[in-house]
Each structure stands twice: as structure tokens, then as C-alpha cells.
């Protein structure tokens, strides 16, 4: 293995059941249900998936959901706004812990 990530591996995702079919089937069944239109449209769900893909920094998911959002008719600015939402939450998640730091600092200082 020369690299950790290979774009060709995305196509093999469906074969993940090779080492454990039952759980893979359950996962894909759940996965497919999640992305069906419900209270949210398929388009909205795809944009959420794109944002989450950036938050968890999964290159396979970024590849798949960039295509998927485009296929669902999303515009470039919508894709980028989704990425900024992920970025804001990631940044905010770090920053909000600053309150703990401040609390602890205040405990320790005279």
C-alpha cells in the first residue's frame, strides 16, 4: 500500500460485506433509508452529507457527495456554504471549549 487513500477504493465500498455480510447489509439498508426524502428533501440531505464529509474529513465522502449534490442540481455557492457550515461548527467546537479553559484559569488564578 503506497498511499492511505485511493480514489478507486470508493467503488469498492459496496464490497465491505466481504468480511462480514450481515452487518454490512444492515448498514446499507439503514444508509439507503436515511437518504430517502422525508421531512427533508434528498437535496437537503445531500448538502448535509457534504458538510459532514468535510467535518469528518473523509475524502471518499467528499468525492461522492460533491457529485451527488451536483447531480441534485445544487450550485457551487450552495456546496461552499455547506462546507462553511462544517467549518463554522468545527471552529466553534474548538472555541466553545475555550470557556472551560477560562473557567479553569479563573479557578487557578488569584
Amino acid at each position: 500500500m503506497k498511499t492511505y487513500y485511493n480514489p478507486e477504493d470508493l467503488k469498492k465500498f459496496g464490497n465491505i460485506g466481504e468480511f462480514g455480510q450481515e452487518l454490512a447489509d444492515k448498514f446499507f439498508s439503514y444508509y439507503n433509508e436515511v437518504f430517502k426524502a422525508g421531512a427533508l428533501t434528498e437535496r437537503e440531505k445531500s448538502l448535509i452529507a457534504l458538510a459532514v464529509a468535510h467535518a469528518v474529513q473523509c475524502p471518499y465522502c467528499i468525492d461522492a457527495y460533491t457529485s451527488d449534490t451536483l447531480e441534485k442540481g445544487c450550485a457551487e455557492d450552495e456546496l461552499m456554504e455547506a462546507v462553511h457550515v462544517a467549518s463554522a461548527i468545527r471552529g466553534g467546537a474548538s472555541l466553545v471549549h475555550g470557556v472551560q479553559m477560562m473557567n479553569k484559569t479563573k479557578e487557578l488564578l488569584m
Binding site: E42, R43, L70, E71, K72, G73, A75
Partner: protein, 358 residues
């Protein structure tokens, strides 16, 4: 990708030759993977040879001349294309319409309105049958291209012509990238002009339908969802209303094939089409109830076979020899580009043709 300024033919590009396109489509090495023959997919569902279900729609290409040079155009149309249907060939089309039972005439090009006999032709078709559906594939910008076209919305209204227009996106950048600089703004103005005479308005009976095709190397998904979004955005941003949105898959021929190859997306796109193959869509492909007529009167199974110069596989290869029975019993010619019409929910000039498979 920058828009081309000339057709492939004018550039003397090798993809301007239909034989070369077919060679590329059947070249496994170029694909980088083993792609099954489309024919074998039909054989697997007992649909080969593919037979017509009837002759219902006559699609007529009245010429390849166009005021636009779109990056994805499967006709390779443009201002430099001089092929134009003559009045004599139009007369042959009228004979076919008089003597047979087509319920729809679908006029396409190029920009069909640039044919000098276009209006005469529409009037003659309407005179044959006041109820026949006449569709014009209007690129919208032609309405603003020259003062002599400004009254087209009124002309369409007078003759109850259904207007079907391409608009690949509700954003300027995406539309212009596919169809040329300034196309989005002119398209919006033209849509507003069509709305002003009643097109797309509830109860007017004047149908205005938009065609969405992806502006890149990806497939369309979910016609209904796309329509909802286009309606919401066009209404909010420009006050535009329309009836339906047809989601169409780009077929890998001509300028779109060139784009796929140049952008290094060809193999991946064909693999996408193959993986999305839907037998349900194969049963409902448009070539089963449509005949496509070239600018010179030759007869084809569909618009794409026309652009690949694959004339019908029977004696009635030209309108002069029109023979309904022979045409209804012919075998439809298929090749690798047909995967474009059977991917996902399927694609036709009227948009989706089936339910997408999971």
C-alpha cells in the same frame, strides 16, 4: 471549460466525423475498463432487436445553424453550420404528417427559427391538424438575437406551439459555462417575454417547458426535485413561471464527447452510465415511438442516431420512400451511446422515462 467558438466540423476536428465518434465509443482501451455492449444489455431482458412500439412523434431537425455554440451540443450546431432544410423537404414532412397518425411534431435544430421557412412550415403543420402538438426546441436567446425574431412569442402563441427550452441552471455562471457568455441573461429576458404573452401561466394552455441537462460530467437526478428548485429560484429571482422541467442526460457524442475526453472524464462518465443502467428505462426509450428526420430528409431512429449518421435499418431511409409498415417493423439501431438514454430514470427529449432503480 471555455466555450468553443466554432463547431467541431469547422475546426476539422476528428470528432466532427461520425465514424470516428463510433470508433471512440467502441474502443475499450480508451475507456480503461471492459464495457459490455449495449446490445448485450438488451439481449439480457429479451429486448433485442429493439422494436418500435408505434409511430407517434415526428422529430424534425430543420437545420444545424444556430446562434449559440454550446459546449455540450450533440448536433455540433453553430453559426458556421450551413445545413438547412429546404421547402421541398418540408413538403415531404408535411406529406408524412398528412398520411399518417403522428400526434406530435417536434421541431429542432440548431436554432429551428433560423430556417427561413420555419414560420411557413409551422403554419402548414397547423393547417393540417388544429390539434396536433407542435413543439419547438427554442434556445431562448434567438428571440433576442435579431429584431426579426422579437415577435416569436406571439407567433408561437398564435399557432399554439409548445415551447421547450434548455436552461441548464438557474445561475448565470453555470449556464454561461455550458451555453456561452451572456446566454443566461438573454434566456431570462426571453422567458419573461414568453411569460408576458401567457406562456407558462396557469390556465393559458400555452406550455413552456424547460430542459435541464447537467453542465459537466455527471448525471441528472430526480426530475421532480430539480423542477421544484428551478421553479422556486426562477420565480423568486426573476418572476419567471414555467410548466415542467425535463431532466435530460448528456449523451456522449459530438461536442459533449469531446468535452469528456479533453477533461479526462470520459472513462468515469461511461462507467457512471453503465452502473446506472436501468432495464425499466430501456423499455421506454424514445426511439420506440419517435422518428427523427434530418435536415436533408433522411430518416433516423432518434436525434442521436441522426448525429451519428446511423440511418434507419430498413428500406425507408428517406422521406421520399416513407413506408409506415416497414418503419414500424424495423429494428432500431443501438450502440454504446444508448447507455445515455437508459441511465437512472432514463432520458428522452421529454425528460425521465421510468422510475430510477435504487
Amino acid at each position: 471549460m471555455a466555450n468553443p467558438v466554432k463547431s467541431l466540423k469547422a475546426q476539422k476536428h476528428e470528432l466532427g466525423e461520425t465514424e470516428f465518434q463510433l470508433k471512440v465509443l467502441n474502443d475499450t482501451e480508451k475507456l480503461g475498463f471492459e464495457m459490455p455492449k449495449f446490445k448485450s444489455k438488451l439481449q439480457a431482458i429479451d429486448l433485442y432487436p429493439l422494436k418500435p412500439t408505434g409511430l407517434e412523434i415526428l422529430q424534425i431537425n430543420v437545420g444545424k445553424m444556430c446562434n449559440q455554440v454550446c459546449a455540450h451540443c450533440h448536433v455540433d450546431a453553430g453559426p458556421d453550420r450551413k445545413e438547412i432544410m429546404t421547402k421541398e423537404t418540408m413538403e415531404l414532412c408535411l406529406d408524412a404528417l398528412k398520411n399518417h397518425t403522428f400526434h406530435t411534431v417536434d421541431l429542432t435544430g440548431g436554432a429551428p427559427e433560423m430556417n427561413p421557412n420555419f414560420r411557413w412550415f409551422v403554419e402548414q403543420i397547423r393547417a393540417i391538424d388544429s390539434e396536433i402538438k407542435i413543439i419547438v426546441r427554442c434556445n431562448l436567446t434567438i428571440i433576442l438575437a435579431n429584431p426579426r425574431f422579437h415577435d416569436l412569442p406571439d407567433f408561437f402563441k398564435t399557432h399554439k406551439v409548445e415551447v421547450v427550452s434548455s436552461l441548464p441552471a438557474y445561475t448565470e455562471a453555470r449556464t454561461d459555462a455550458q451555453r456561452g457568455n451572456g446566454v443566461f441573461r438573454d434566456s431570462i429576458k426571453a422567458l419573461q417575454m414568453l411569460n408576458a404573452v401567457g406562456y407558462g401561466q396557469v390556465g393559458s394552455g400555452l406550455e413552456l417547458n424547460l430542459v435541464y441537462n447537467p453542465s459537466g460530467a455527471f448525471l441528472p437526478s430526480g426530475q421532480a426535485g430539480l423542477e421544484l428548485n428551478f421553479k422556486r429560484k426562477l420565480k423568486a429571482d426573476f418572476g419567471i413561471e414555467f410548466n415542467q422541467l425535463f431532466a435530460i442526460t448528456n449523451i456522449p457524442i459530438s461536442r459533449y464527447l469531446d468535452y469528456l475526453i479533453v477533461s479526462d472524464n470520459y472513462g468515469a462518465y461511461m462507467e457512471k452510465l453503465l452502473n446506472a443502467y436501468n432495464p425499466g428505462a430501456a423499455e421506454h426509450v424514445m426511439c420506440r415511438n419517435t422518428l427523427s428526420i434530418g435536415w436533408d430528409g433522411f430518416v433516423f431512429d432518434c436525434d442521436f442516431n441522426q448525429m451519428l449518421d446511423l440511418k434507419v435499418a430498413c428500406g425507408a431511409k428517406h422521406l421520399r420512400d416513407f413506408d409506415r409498415e416497414e418503419l414500424e417493423n424495423r429494428s432500431i439501431i443501438v450502440n454504446q451511446h444508448c447507455f445515455g438514454c437508459t441511465a437512472g430514470a432514463g432520458s428522452s427529449c421529454g425528460g425521465e422515462v421510468a422510475q430510477a432503480t435504487a
